[in-house]
C-alpha cells in the first residue's frame, strides 16, 4: 500500500513537471518560433518600441530558452523577481506571471475564482450522483418497462441538449417567469441564502447533463451485475431483495461510477465554461473564456495547470478508493 502510494505520488510529480514543460512550450516557445514576439503580445499592437523593450527585459525574453525555463519553474515553486529598469517586483510562489491585460498577478485571480468553480462542480456532482444512480438502478431493475423507457429517453435528452439551451430555458422559466430562484450569482460571504438561491439553477443544469450520463452508465453496469452468479447466491441465501440490490449489487455497480466521477470532477475544476457563462458565474471557466478572447496567455496557462493538476489528483484519489472498494485490486 505504502509503496503503491509513493509510486503514485512520484508519478503525479513527474506528470505535473511534464505538463508544466508542455505548457511552457506551447505558450512561450511556439509563439517565438512562429515569429510572434511575446513582448508585443504583452504590450499590445499599438505599443511603442521602448515599452516593448522594457517588457522584454522584464520578462527576460532575450535569455536562452533554458534560463527562461528555469526561471519559469522557479517562479512556480519558489517565486521569482521581475526587474524592470531599476525597480524590482517580487512575484511570490506559485508565480504564473502577470496578466497581459490587467497586469494583476495570476495566482490571486485563480484563488479568487477556484472556490466558485469548486462549489459549482461539487454541488452539481451531489445532485447528479443521486439522480443518476437512482434513475439508473430503477431503470435496470425494471428493464423494458414504461418507466425505463421514459427514463432513458430523458437521459438521451440530457446527454444531447446543450447546457446553454437547458440553462437559458430554466433561467427564463424559474428565475424570470416564476421568480422562484435568484438569477444572479451572489458570493457566499455576502449572503449564503442568496448564494444558494443563485446556484440552484446552475447546479441543476450541469447535473442534468452529467446525471443523464451517470444514469446510463449505472443502468448498464447494474444490468450486468444483476446477471452475476453472486447475486444469485445472495438470493439463494434468503436475503431480502433490498439487501441483494442495495448491498451486493450496488457495491459492484459503484466501481465504474466512481472512476468516472473522479475524472469528471477533476475536469470540471478547469471551469464549466458554458454553465458559468450562461449563468454569469465568476468562476475559472468564465475567466479562461475571457483570457482566450484577450489572448491573455499567463492566465490561460494558470488555468491549464490547475485543471491538469486537478485531474491528476482526482485520478489518484479514485485509484486509492478503488483499492478500498475492490479487494482484488492489490495496491502493492
Amino acid at each position: 500500500m505504502l509503496t503503491y502510494l509513493i509510486r503514485r505520488l512520484f508519478a503525479v510529480a513527474v506528470m505535473l513537471v511534464v505538463i508544466i514543460l508542455a505548457v511552457f512550450c506551447i505558450f512561450f516557445l511556439i509563439p517565438k518560433w512562429s515569429g510572434i514576439d511575446p513582448a508585443t503580445m504583452f504590450v499590445g499592437k499599438q505599443a511603442d518600441k521602448e515599452s516593448v523593450e522594457a517588457v522584454r527585459e522584464k520578462l527576460q525574453l532575450d535569455d536562452p530558452v533554458l534560463v527562461q525555463l528555469f526561471e519559469f519553474f522557479k517562479g512556480i515553486f519558489v517565486g521569482r523577481d521581475y526587474t524592470s529598469g531599476g525597480d524590482t517586483t517580487h512575484c511570490s510562489a506559485p508565480c504564473f506571471g502577470y496578466s497581459f491585460r490587467t497586469e494583476q498577478e495570476i495566482w490571486p485571480v485563480l484563488t479568487d475564482r477556484l472556490p466558485v468553480t469548486l462549489s459549482l462542480a461539487l454541488g452539481a456532482a451531489v445532485i447528479w450522483l443521486i439522480i443518476g444512480l437512482a434513475v439508473g438502478v430503477l431503470s435496470a431493475l425494471k428493464r423494458g418497462s414504461l418507466w425505463d423507457r421514459l427514463a432513458m429517453t430523458g437521459a438521451l435528452a440530457g446527454v444531447s441538449l446543450p447546457v446553454y439551451f437547458t440553462g437559458l430555458i430554466s433561467l427564463a422559466v424559474f428565475a424570470y417567469q416564476l421568480d422562484l430562484v435568484s438569477n444572479t450569482f451572489t458570493p457566499f460571504g455576502d449572503d449564503p441564502v442568496k448564494w444558494f438561491s443563485g446556484m440552484i439553477l446552475p447546479w441543476v443544469t450541469l447535473a442534468f447533463l452529467f446525471g443523464a450520463m451517470y444514469a446510463r452508465l449505472t443502468r448498464a453496469t447494474m444490468l450486468e451485475v444483476m446477471g452475476e452468479d453472486y447475486i444469485r447466491t445472495a438470493r439463494a441465501k434468503g436475503l431480502k431483495e433490498p439487501v441483494v440490490i442495495g448491498k451486493h449489487a450496488m457495491r459492484s455497480t459503484m466501481t465504474p461510477v466512481l472512476t468516472l466521477l473522479g475524472i469528471d470532477i477533476g475536469a470540471l475544476m478547469g471551469g464549466a465554461i458554458l454553465t458559468e457563462t450562461t449563468f454569469s458565474i465568476p468562476g475559472l471557466g468564465q475567466a479562461v473564456l475571457k483570457a482566450i478572447t484577450d489572448r491573455d496567455l499567463p492566465l490561460i496557462l494558470g488555468v491549464t495547470l490547475i485543471t491538469a493538476t486537478a485531474v491528476v489528483i482526482a485520478n489518484l484519489i479514485v485509484d486509492l478508493l478503488y483499492g478500498v472498494i475492490d479487494p482484488r485490486v492489490r495496491l502493492g
Binding site: 439463494a236 434468503g238 436475503l239 457495491r251 472498494i325 475492490d326 482484488r328
Partner: protein
Amino acid sequence: MTDHEHKSHKDTEPGTDATRVDAPQAAATGAAGAAIPEQGTAPDLTGSGTAPGEPELDQRPPSSFLEVRDLRVHFPTQDGLVKSVDGLTFSLEKGKTLGIVGESGSGKSVTSLGIMGLHTVGQYGRQRPQLSGEIWLDGQELLSADAETVRKLRGREISMIFQDPLSALHPFFTVGHQIVEAYRVHHDVDKKTARRRAIELLDRVGIPEPGKRVDSYPHEFSGGMRQRAMIAMSLVNNPELLIADEPTTALDVTVQAQILDLIRDLQQEFGSAVIIITHDLGVVAELSDDILVMYGGRCVEYGTAEQVFYEPQHPYTWGLLGSMPRIDRDRADRLIPVKGSPPSLINVPSGCAFNPRCPYADVPGDDVTRTVRPELREVKDGHLAACHMAQEDRERIWNEEIAPKL
C-alpha cells in the same frame, strides 16, 4: 447475443443443430427486444398456484420429504417460448441423494433454481418465467406460497452449492462476512455469535486456520478452498435439503475427489436430503442413491443407481453410457456416440423428444415415437422410463446390442 434476429425457429427442422437455445441465456436476451410474439393462451403464472385450465392435480400433501409434481418452467423469449422444464415429477426422502443427469439444456439446473424459487425473484413482466406444477417440501407447497415465505425457506431449509465458486461468491466481501450474512438472515444473533458459527463451519469443511481464513476474500482462496467455503455457507443453517449444481465441474480431479468425499461425509452427519446435478456419470455413480436422467426438459428415466447403470431402459441413457470413455476399463474400440445434437427447447420434437437421435425410433412401429409423447411408466419396482418400446425389445437391445460393447 444481439445477432439472433434471423435465427428464426422456423427455418430448421427440430433436432438439427442450428437452433440450439440455452434456456437461461435465451431468457436474458429475450428482454432486449421490443415486441415479443404473443404467447397466445399461455396464462401468466407468476408463481402463485396452478393456472386455470391446467389439469387439476392431486392437492393432498405428499408423504415424501420433497415431491415435485408436473413442474414446468417456461421462459418467454424473442424467438419463442423456451420450455426448459416441461412436466417433471419426482420425489426424494430425507437422508437420500438424488442425482440428476443430463446434458446442457436438458433443464437440470432450471429445475434446481425452480425448487429454490429463484426464477421469479427480481423478474417481472415479460421476462418473468412461467412456472406451474407443485413443489412440496415437508408438507408445504412452494409454488403457491407467497414470495416472503419462500424467501425465508431459502438458505434455511433449502440451500444450494453452485458450480463456479469464484463467481458465486461476492468478490468484495470477505468469506466470513458472506457466511455470517447467510446465518444472520435466518437467525437473530449478534455478529460475534455468527462469526463463531462461521469459523466452526469453515473448520468443519476442512479449511486450515479457519480463524484466520474467515477474514480472507474469495480471490485469496484456491479453487478447492472456495468450494469448501461455499459448502460451509450452504450448511450454516443446517438445511434439510441441499442442492449441489455441478459442484465439482470447475475443479481439478484431485480436488474434486476431496469435495465429493466432503459432501458424502456431511450428508451422513447432517442427514439432509441432497440433490446433485451433474453431467458427469462418474460423479452421480459415486454419490447417488437414485438417478434421474433428463432430456429436453423431461425425465426419461428414473431408478436406483444400480438400475440405471446396470439395467438402463432408455436409449438416451444407453447413449450416455456408450459416449463415455472409461477410466476403469481398457479402451473399447470406439465410443458409441449419440448422433445429432440436443433438441431445441423452443421446438421440442413432437412425440418422443429423443426420436430424431434415437437409433431405435422405428422399433415400436406406427410412427408412434414421432407422434405420441411417451409417458413415464414403471418398468420394475421403482424403475421408471419414458419409452415407447416394449419391455422385451428394450431388454433384448440392451443385453444383446449395447451392454457387450460398453
